[in-house]
């Protein structure tokens, strides 16, 4: 019944064409992963979102003039989309996995308050106070105007102040 099978050597590691992108991946992955983790409140979707972003970049990497900014925008978009509607697959897989969250959720009251913000306010707050981006960079990541960014941050801080205060 059982059948042990022989491995094939050398198939997976042969990636001569990806040298530049692999270097970009190694450098950019940690911050992209942390950004996704913060934006999703450690819900376990961060891995998929980040992989999604890198997969989108992969095929056009050589055409991109600012791959870091593109990656940041892709991660933010992915997180926002994920929050707007979780797919049935994700829910189902989580059920199959025994209801275990992929990562331990943060219990910090400040992070919980941030997680309660609307998606774009949350993204603006994280990009400003974790990534230390300026208004222009946040505007690029959110595909918004500078004035919108300032408004998002301002309203986010007001909400957080209320939530933390209460």
């Amino acid at each position: 019944m059982m059948r042990s099978l022989r491995p094939i050597a050398g198939d997976v590691d042969d990636e001569p064409a990806d040298t530049d992108f692999a270097a970009f991946y190694r450098r950019a992955y940690p911050s992209a992963r942390r950004l996704a983790h913060l934006l999703t409140n450690g819900s376990g979707d961060a891995d998929d979102i980040v992989q999604d972003a890198f997969a989108r970049i992969h095929d056009r990497y050589r055409e991109l003039r600012a791959p870091d900014a593109y990656l940041r925008r892709a991660v933010v978009n992915g997180c926002n989309q994920r929050f707007r509607g979780r797919s049935r697959e994700s829910t189902r897989l989580r059920l199959v996995a025994g209801g275990q969250a992929a990562e331990s959720r943060p219990t910090d009251s400040m992070l919980d308050a941030v997680a309660g913000l609307p998606a774009r306010q949350r993204a603006a707050i994280v990009l400003r106070y974790w990534a230390d981006l300026d208004d222009d960079e946040i505007a690029d990541a959110l595909n918004a105007r500078r004035s919108t960014v300032r408004s998002l941050v301002h309203r986010g801080l007001i909400t957080l102040r209320k939530d933390i205060g209460s």
Binding site: R3, P7, D13, E15, G98
Partner: protein, 198 residues
């Protein structure tokens, strides 16, 4: 002025909280691999409900036929207890030599001694990581639960490489890892599982 002080205090607390949480972020993908060229969102866009419904229908039909042809309860009893018997799919013991899949296993994702459930194109089954997950670990396909040979719409539209959805249980039956998305790279007779090195 009071508002400014409050804002600065809030900003300090935000930076501190983000810093702590960011430091806790698990980083499990040290290198770019072929596996990651498939975007998970592409996989999610597939008609999952239709696939799931087809799986249930075909599995149920397969069970009925198998029971008529070979009503041997011992076959089902031989399944290790860590496999969630009957929870998601009725178990039917099929010959794994009929399974035309080739699986790449990421040793960061699959633990030795674990039992994995896989969906590979038209087959759903269990695979057992039989040795330590080193460079040439072996994976044995144990049971093929359902074959979707009667769903030509799905089979005809499946992409190449074929996406496979993985999740797994530990021998104790408790899920230890999040479900991950892997890729079946080739369709071949027998299952061949090189393990990607770090």
């Amino acid at each position: 002025m009071t508002v400014d002080v409050e804002d600065r205090d809030l900003e300090v607390r935000l930076r501190s909280a983000f810093g702590r949480e960011a430091a806790r972020t698990p980083l499990r993908r040290p290198e770019w691999t072929e596996l990651q060229r498939v975007a998970p969102s592409d996989l999610r866009r597939r008609p999952l409900l239709a696939i799931a419904a087809s799986v249930v229908l075909v599995a149920a039909g397969t069970v009925a036929v198998a029971q008529m042809l070979r009503p041997d309860p011992a076959a089902v009893q031989s399944v290790p207890p860590s496999i969630p018997q009957g929870d998601e799919f009725p178990l039917v013991e099929l010959d794994p030599s009929d399974v035309d899949v080739s699986l790449y296993i990421d040793r960061d994702l699959v633990k030795p001694g674990s039992v994995s459930v896989f969906q590979a194109g038209d087959v759903i089954g269990f695979a057992y990581v039989s040795l330590d997950v080193s460079e040439n670990a072996r994976v044995t396909v144990m049971y093929c639960v359902a074959e979707l040979r009667h769903t030509p719409d799905i089979c005809a539209s499946r992409p190449s490489p074929i996406p496979a959805v993985w999740w797994w249980d530990s021998p104790s039956g408790r899920a230890e890892e999040p479900p991950m998305v892997g890729v079946v790279q080739r369709a071949e007779r027998n299952v061949v599982c090189p393990v990607r090195g770090r």
